[in-house]
């Protein structure tokens, strides 16, 4: 692994008593493609929130060298704003200020969005919204993109297009990606390394091609019993397309949570 852009050690996160993450160690190197797979409720989204500073960890450290941006689970559009405004707001924290909010580079990277720029984000299809969510995250000029449930609720063809974009961004721009997926086959296929999260702990990690052959992984994640997007969480806000905030969302913490280090490159 190259120099890590994200390094997590002993990360523990609790929700009102319940432990969602329990001593998680994980690292993503510069320009690396890493997968994180796990069943519904394993704690994947909790890790994403902790990584982006939206949740204060109970224990452990998170070190980010450079900038991290996330594509949140369920896309989380600003549904009544235009695509262009959605993208523009992605550059809110861009250190270049106003210049950093110029959206034109995104339309070059994701040409499918060009024709949609004046459309209300809430009126788009799931695949289009996912592309907006990726574009919005790219506006922060990240060194690592954390994508929470890339394929959830999307048609296979759309997923292929999105994976293609992520691969291109990786090879041409050196963007590191932490891909969180319930579709383990897709994730292990795209990434070099992978982690398996089970009820808040890293159960396995290693080269993606080794994990793809691991009997435990095959049985649990690649066999017949891949949880078919059934969980509570998926249903709730897949196609909602923003406009409203999901139930028990955490309001706490801004970006400067404990143990979260954000150093400029």
């Amino acid at each position: 692994m190259s120099r890590p852009v994200v390094e997590v050690t002993g990360l523990t996160v609790r929700y009102a008593g319940a432990t969602a993450l329990d001593g998680v160690d994980l690292a993503v190197g510069e320009g690396e493609l890493v997968a994180l797979i796990g069943a519904n409720g394993a704690g994947k989204s909790t890790l994403v929130k902790a990584l982006s500073g939206l949740l204060r960890p109970h224990a452990g450290t998170i070190t980010v060298r450079g900038r991290l941006a996330q594509v949140p689970e369920g896309r989380e559009m600003f549904g009544d704003l235009t695509v262009d405004d959605n993208l523009r707001l992605g550059g809110w924290r861009n250190p270049e200020g106003r210049r950093g909010r110029d959206t034109s580079p995104i339309y070059e990277l994701l040409p499918e969005l060009s024709d949609l720029r004046r459309r209300r984000a809430g009126s788009l299809s799931g695949g289009q919204q996912q592309m907006v969510a990726i574009g919005r995250a790219l506006m922060a000029r990240p060194d690592i993109l954390v994508v929470d449930e890339l394929s959830l609720g999307l048609a296979p063809l759309v997923v292929t297009t999105l994976v293609g974009h992520l691969r291109t961004l990786n090879t041409e721009r050196g963007l590191a990606v932490l891909l969180i997926e319930q579709n383990a086959r897709l994730a292990l296929d795209m990434c070099e390394r992978a982690y398996v999260l089970e009820t808040g702990r890293i159960a396995l990690h290693g080269a993606a091609k080794d994990l793809a052959r691991d009997p435990q992984v095959t049985a649990a994640y690649l066999g017949g019993h891949v949880e078919a997007g059934g969980g509570l969480e998926a249903g709730g806000h897949v196609e909602v397309g923003g406009g409203q905030e999901a139930g028990g969302r955490l309001e706490a913490g801004g970006h400067a949570s404990g143990g979260h280090v954000e150093a400029a490159t």
Binding site: P72, L81, G242, G254
Partner: protein, 286 residues
């Protein structure tokens, strides 16, 4: 006929005050989901200060700006108390704003006493299509129009306005892109305070202000705002103007005593219709 026109223009002037209060409520509610019951107090405080400033020789214009500034500052302070603590639920914040509204009475009486105050606005009588009315009503309308236009431009065209709209649209996504939603909430409170202050400053020359003038303002402002589900400033503007005109007509042709009832009846009707359409009332209050 000329009576009618006079009532309408007068009504628009009064309604503009309601619309400003309503749009302040909407600005705050959209971003924070808090129904701000201290909204009327911003108007009273701003009007009281303007009266004092004018009384001590500060020129028109400056005194009114001072009043609006006090509205904005008070808005910010109410915001700090109501939403400053992370994790406070909108319902709790609402109760806090109610309490602060009552506290404002005490402060107003302590500083200004309990007697009504007023100050001269635009002097004289204007003629509109044969109807005679106080010229100041024209100023109210002439100021409110551009203020709404600027607000629309601000929310739709500037990055700061877009960030506020983003908080209104999807709070979680706003946090994801790094918008400080609490700071935006405080900004919304300050904007709401300025709008409430402007309402008080503009309407005092034609209707006096007492410490409890906020009741009529909040009832009418809320009735106008609730027309648009507390989230649509354009509807709040239309609602405020409509209420102002309706009340003036009721007062002109019927009896002056029924003015607040007009707002209450409208508000209740809207809320009942909305509740019937969307199911639980919680849907609109969320």
């Amino acid at each position: 006929m000329s009576d009618l026109l006079g009532y309408i223009v007068t009504g628009l002037g009064i309604g503009a005050g309601f619309a400003l209060v309503a749009s302040g409520l909407v600005a705050i509610y959209r971003v924070t989901r808090v129904v701000n019951f201290a909204q009327g107090a911003f108007a009273v405080l701003a009007a009281m200060l303007t009266a004092s400033l004018l009384g001590s020789g500060v020129p028109h214009g400056v005194a009114e700006l001072g009043g609006v500034a006090l509205g904005a500052i008070t808005g910010l302070l109410v915001g700090v108390v109501a939403i400053g603590r992370p994790g406070t639920s909108p319902g709790t914040s609402l109760i806090v704003t109610l309490g602060l509204g009552v506290l404002a009475y005490a402060i107003e009486i302590l500083i200004w006493g309990d007697q009504p105050r007023s100050y001269p606005g635009v002097p004289g009588v204007a003629e509109v299509g044969g109807a005679r009315l106080q010229a100041h009503y024209l100023l109210i309308v002439a100021v409110t129009g551009p203020v709404f236009a600027v607000m629309a431009w601000f929310f739709a065209r500037t990055d700061l306005g877009k960030a506020l709209s983003a908080c209104a649209s999807n709070r979680y996504a706003a946090q994801v892109v790094g918008i400080d939603v609490r700071r935006m909430g405080l900004l919304a409170f300050a904007i709401g305070g300025a709008l409430g202050g402007l309402a008080g400053v503009l309407t005092t020359p034609v209707q006096q202000v007492t410490f409890d003038s906020d009741v009529a303002l909040i009832v009418n402002g809320f009735a106008a705002a609730v027309l648009g589900g507390l989230t649509r400033p354009g509807v709040a503007l239309a609602g405020g103007l409509l209420l102002g005109v309706a009340q003036t007509l009721v007062a002109g042709y019927g009896g002056g005593a029924y003015q607040v009832e007009v707002a209450l009846v409208l508000m209740l009707t809207v809320m009942i219709v909305q509740a019937a359409r969307t199911g639980p009332v919680a849907e609109t209050a969320r």
